[in-house]
Symmetry: none
Subunit: 185 residues, 2 copies
DNA sequence: AGAAATATGTCAATATAGCTGACGTAAGAG
DNA sequence: CTCTTACGTCAGCTATATTGACATATTTCT
């Protein structure tokens, strides 16, 4: 029986079809490097935590929720949804698992009792810290290999990459030392 | 006070192991900032392309395949799997759609005819370029807002973030100008 | 007070992107 | 001629996301 493979193959391998391609913009070219670098860097960055999370039966979604809840104690649901840019239905499955497992807890808001404010439990904080330690190792290695000003440069670069609509909010949650860096603007 | 800003990489120079607990504590804190910055930066970076891809009925998976096929004409399946770190079954669904849609084509290898070498078609190259242009815009804005040396600093940073096992291969695919930057072995 | 808006939960159906395991086939390598 | 490699494919499963509809408190507005 003839396979689909044979049908799809183009007979007589010769020159690539789009042979004369893409000399279009010279200034465009170097940015393609960044697209690729960013992909690989992020791929390996998240890969670290993934292995640890498996031991707990959690995935990346749980990691993100736990991270932000632990970093922003008392975070309301709506704020978390806005950070993650997902729907409440998506969040709910993951959040419920974290609540059931006792890594996160929710308390009704004191001012607005419709809100459920999220907090990491002791266990949750411990796991969050374990995960952060793992990923911090990578950053520490990286900055150990680079000149001393690389940390500030990287922080500036990453912050600039964020959509301007969210940039100030992201910056507001950096540690005070780093946040102060470009308040001179 | 900093004396000289050394831009060259300190290769293989093992970072000093934790000198003291107090310092570890201090160094730990800012890294959490980077974890968060990296998340937000990547979230918005990929968000750009997602909107364009919807018009074609494609997702991120298609984007990644198209990107690497277009950047590495004649890429064999196995190499693509290794780059993406996914299984062939996962790749196959996505790749088949790109083949059927005429954005990618496969030719048997000239040396090893078991291989299917992947190429972007003219249409595929056009879409890849459109996507790259979109994402390049963000980088161009970012580097427009930062000092002139930020571009090299960002490239060094991102490359250092990649697992050492893949770093040389990633670097080998950078544009020659950038690749030459730290060939000082 | 009553209506409207808000914050959240939930049910159902669906899409996408990944996975493991098992099996098949053509072609290179020993 | 066997073994291995490079790939395709079937089947079934999981994780993460989506849209749409509806329910329930609680706050806010008129």
């Amino acid at each position: 029986m003839k396979t689909i493979v044979e049908r799809k193959l183009v007979k007589g391998a010769a020159a690539p079809p789009a042979a004369g391609r893409a000399q279009t913009e010279v200034q465009n070219e170097p940015m393609v490097d960044f697209i690729e670098l960013f992909f690989f860097a992020y791929r390996d960055f998240v890969g670290d935590a993934d292995r640890l999370l498996e031991n707990y039966g959690f995935g990346r979604a749980h990691h993100r929720v736990l991270h932000f809840v632990s970093r922003r104690p008392g975070l309301p649901i709506a704020a978390l949804l806005d950070i993650l840019k997902i729907t409440k239905q998506s969040l709910n499955r993951v959040l419920k698992q974290l609540l059931d497992a006792g890594f996160v807890e929710a308390r009704p808001g004191a001012i607005d009792r419709r809100q459920r404010l999220l907090f990491a439990t002791a266990n949750g904080a411990r796991l969050a810290q374990e995960l952060a330690a793992l990923q911090s190792e990578r950053f520490r290695r990286v900055f150990g290999e680079l000149p001393p000003d690389a940390q500030d440069a990287a922080a500036d670069f990453l912050l600039a990459m964020v959509n301007s609509s969210d940039r100030e909010r992201v910056r507001a949650h950096l540690s005070p030392r780093r946040r102060r860096r470009d308040e001179i603007a």
